[in-house]
């Protein structure tokens, strides 16, 4: 017995020391012995250990999030894009230098501002969405020490509203980053985000979590769409306010307008002018003044809202309709009043934000979804105005149609294949859709195809 005493004590001591050290410090301390500040981004590599998130299991499996990200996630390649020919051209037009060193680009294509250059190489990495890990990396796997709501810097993406808002930062823009018309003219593709569509196509690294969520909410795809439409519109309205209020920013901001309102080749005869003649005569009969050649505000983000707003909290629809019309009227002016636009946009954003929150828990059964399909299919205004309207209508119906399938009440043939075909064929053969004008868009054809949606049985 005595023979074992010293080795046993040594063993106990060693284990005790190890446990004590682990409890107090977790990982080896950072240089200087201080923990990183809560807003510090640590970089993708710090999440990517085999024991943590790089398990190399099936795509999307828990524990293999990084493995999934690096294999199939487009965000992983966002930084590399800054080396390609498009980026070189953009940077040339911005006055020279390198895109991969331009903070403007790194806000979305890397890890954001104030981050060492090396950390951008992994693209729009983990912390772009999950929040800078400095304040929670060492606690987030210890339930006793980790609170999802209060952990500094942590974004709780299990909350669906936070998840949606997270995408908007880059895919719509905010006070610290945006793709404006100067950048688009330099060569950047336009931003054209639709939450439900992007979400459906995204190679997720959280498949088990997603399964759980869908089991709890069969109307998940429809809710994604409703919540996505409202959250995206809110982000867009807030961005409009930021642009209007920022005296240093170009104003009016052309990216707030429909691209093809200006960027269409002139033709004769012109369908656009024919429509304008009909509209002008109708407007004059109602005693309105008519001005031709105005540039309307883009309908991409808000075009569907008026038809859906009856779902919003009481009083929203009436006010929102007025606000959106007022914004459009003011944005049509050659020099829109900055303050007025900012105020209107913030008011509208507030309304839409409250509506978005309500959609998280709103009732949504198959009958509701069928009603939504009919409503989206009848939204003639935006569909007539251009490709943007037609595409939003198509994406809406596609999402809602999928929801009906999941809810066990399939809608039948809503002509989705034909709609998609028509929208694709709006671009000249061999073109790059994000970069080119949908000059062959046929509004009448698209609205006709939407007839199947309009006629859907309740």
């Amino acid at each position: 017995m005595r023979r074992l005493l010293i080795p046993a004590s040594a063993l106990l001591l060693g284990v005790g020391l190890a446990l004590w050290q682990g409890r107090m410090h977790g990982d080896p301390p950072a240089a200087g012995g201080k923990p990183p500040p809560p807003d510090a981004a640590l970089g993708v590599a710090s999440c990517a250990s085999a024991a943590c998130h790089h398990g190399n299991g099936d795509l999307g499996k828990q524990g293999s999030e990084y493995s999934t990200f690096v294999a199939v996630d487009p965000h992983a390649r966002a930084f590399q894009a800054l080396y390609n020919a498009d980026s070189k051209l953009i940077q040339k037009n911005l006055g020279g230098g390198n895109a991969h060193e331009n903070p403007l680009c790194l806000m979305c294509h890397g890890l954001g501002a104030g981050v060492p250059q090396a950390l951008h190489a992994d693209g729009a990495g983990c912390e772009q969405c999950h929040g800078p890990a400095g304040g929670w990396k060492t606690t987030h796997y210890r339930p006793a020490d980790f609170n999802r709501d209060t952990a500094p810097g942590f974004r709780d993406l299990r909350k669906l509203d936070v998840r949606a808002e997270t995408c908007m930062k880059c895919h719509v823009g905010d006070g610290s980053r945006e793709v404006n018309h100067d950048l688009i003219a330099a060569g950047h593709p336009r931003l054209k985000f639709e939450y439900a569509a992007y979400y459906a196509n995204y190679p997720r690294h959280w498949t088990e979590q997603e399964k759980k969520e869908r089991a709890l909410d069969p109307a998940r795809e429809a809710r994604n769409w409703l919540q996505g439409q409202t959250a995206t519109a809110k982000a867009a309205l807030e961005l409009l306010a930021v642009r209007a209020e920022n005296k240093g920013a170009p104003w009016p901001e052309f990216a707030e307008h429909d691209c093809t309102a200006c960027h269409h080749g002139l033709t004769s005869p012109s369908e656009r002018q024919k429509r304008a003649a009909d509209r002008a005569e109708a407007a004059r009969k109602m005693g309105k003044t008519v001005r031709s050649g105005d540039v309307p505000w883009s309908s991409w983000y808000t075009g569907q809202l008026p038809l859906l707003a009856s779902r919003a909290p009481a009083g929203t629809k009436a006010r929102l309709d007025v606000l959106l019309q007022q914004i459009d009227d003011e944005m049509k002016e050659r020099l829109p009043n900055r303050k007025r636009v900012g105020d209107l946009a913030r008011q509208a954003a507030g309304l839409v934000g409250a509506w978005s929150a309500a959609e998280m828990t709103a009732n949504l059964n198959a009958r509701d979804v069928r009603g939504l399909i009919r409503v989206v299919g009848s939204n003639a205004g935006p569909v007539e105005m251009g490709w943007d309207g037609g595409t939003q209508a198509y994406l809406g119906i596609a999402a809602l149609n999928f929801a009906l399938k999941e809810m066990g009440d399939p809608a039948g043939d809503l002509k989705l294949k034909e709609l998609r075909g028509s929208l694709r064929e709006s671009f000249p053969a061999g073109s790059r859709p994000l970069y080119e004008s949908p000059s062959k868009y046929d509004a009448a054809k698209v609205f006709g195809l939407l007839g199947a949606a309009r006629m859907l049985a309740p």
Binding site: D182, L183, F254, S268, Q273, S437
Partner: protein, 514 residues
Amino acid sequence: MTGHVARWKLWAAGIALYAAVAWWGMPAEAEARQKKGEEKPAGKSGTSATPLFYPASNCENAGCHGGSPPKKWVKDKDLLCRCTEAEQWKTTDKHADAYTGLTKKLGKQMARILGYDVTKAKACLTCHAVWFDDPVVRKDSEDVGFDIKEGVSCVACHGAYLEWIGAHGILANAGKFRPLDRKVKWEKYGMKDLWDPLARAELCTSCHVGNAAEGKFVTHEMYAAGHPPLPGFELATFSNEMPRHWQYLREKKPKVAEELGLRPGELEETQLVLVGAAISLRDAMSLIADDGKKNAALDLSHFDCLACHHDLKADSWRRVRGYGTGKPGRVPMRPWSPELVRLAIKALPQASVAGQSATFEKLLAAVTGAFDAQPYGDAKTASTAAAALARFADGLARKLNRPALVTRKDAQSLLASFPSTFQTDRRLLDHDQARQAAWSFEVIHNELLATGMRKDDKAATALAGIGKSLKLRLPDKKRSLEADYPDALKRMNDYDPRDNKSLLSGLRLSPKGE
């Protein structure tokens, strides 16, 4: 034998009529009449003659300008004119269709969108026909047969005034009228001096570019309603392709040419190109200056149509060209009007070229800078800068408006240095800029050929190539503008300067001339 009037009575009536008209129309009498009670100051128009719009039908008589030149006119002198002008105008000139265009499909569409009658509105008639500020003048004109359907008719250009009609058109007066100084013919009798390149240029540009004071301004609202985009204007080309109903002085009988002031070796067409370039810029800038002064925002018509109105392409030549010193995404000024001034400056005396060129580029940069400063430009700054550039252009026009300023050697040198003037090796010229350059080369080159220069095969080939690629020929009357228009728009939309770069660079005269 009722209905048969005695011959002597006819003669008596004829002589009486002749005498009456002769008295009325005689220059001296007209002057006296004016001095008596109708003494009018020259005023803004620059003439003290009586406004009156004779119809084209008045000029179309056989024996006048309708064909069949009179065998006898001013004693001992050859006829000044061809006497087929009115007939040619009526049958081949698009100006004769200017009014009827308002009644066609596009005109009707514009009326529906703009909400007013385009066949009656000043905004339209002031260019597409004539506009009467004074209803009394309108009544008087209608009394002598004025018909608005004649469009841009003879007197719209040659002088819508009473006195010169009788003064030049009646044999008894013509002899006295003909030798008068051209300035006097205008100031006292109202006959516009269209032999003067500057006077002709500003007459044409008043409609083809615009003139705020005369209400001649095609706004973006009108374009959006359907008005075809005003093309970049080049005076000599547009004159030639009216088609012109007049001869160049070199085409006239030598004595007549001398009488009209032709100097030996004078290059009339070249001078039109150069003076026209300066006046086009002046008037384009004046429009901007006026608009920016009156309004908080510049009308979109001052901007480059095609900078916005093109189908977006992934391989965008605009992105490849870059935005110069400007910012990407800002709407630039319409780029054609300064283009030929670069050429015009080179025609000045050698010693002043560098200085004038530097001043021009500085003034132009101030204007384009104002356009780039913010989206849709800074109207007030643009207005001031444009006014300064307009003054420069006006001064340049007057310097260039000297007879025989440009010798044959000068003209050849202008063509030989074409690539360096327009930097065709380095720049990507857009559709309108390229046409300006090509037209000017074509006119000067063809005038040199017509007056004896030996053919330069390379230049001729490059010109033929660029002529086809840019479709330098203007639509003619046989094919209506409506038939040509869709193709023209498509060409503008599809135009990629990279396809034409080598052709444009080839526009140069080989150093060995004649």
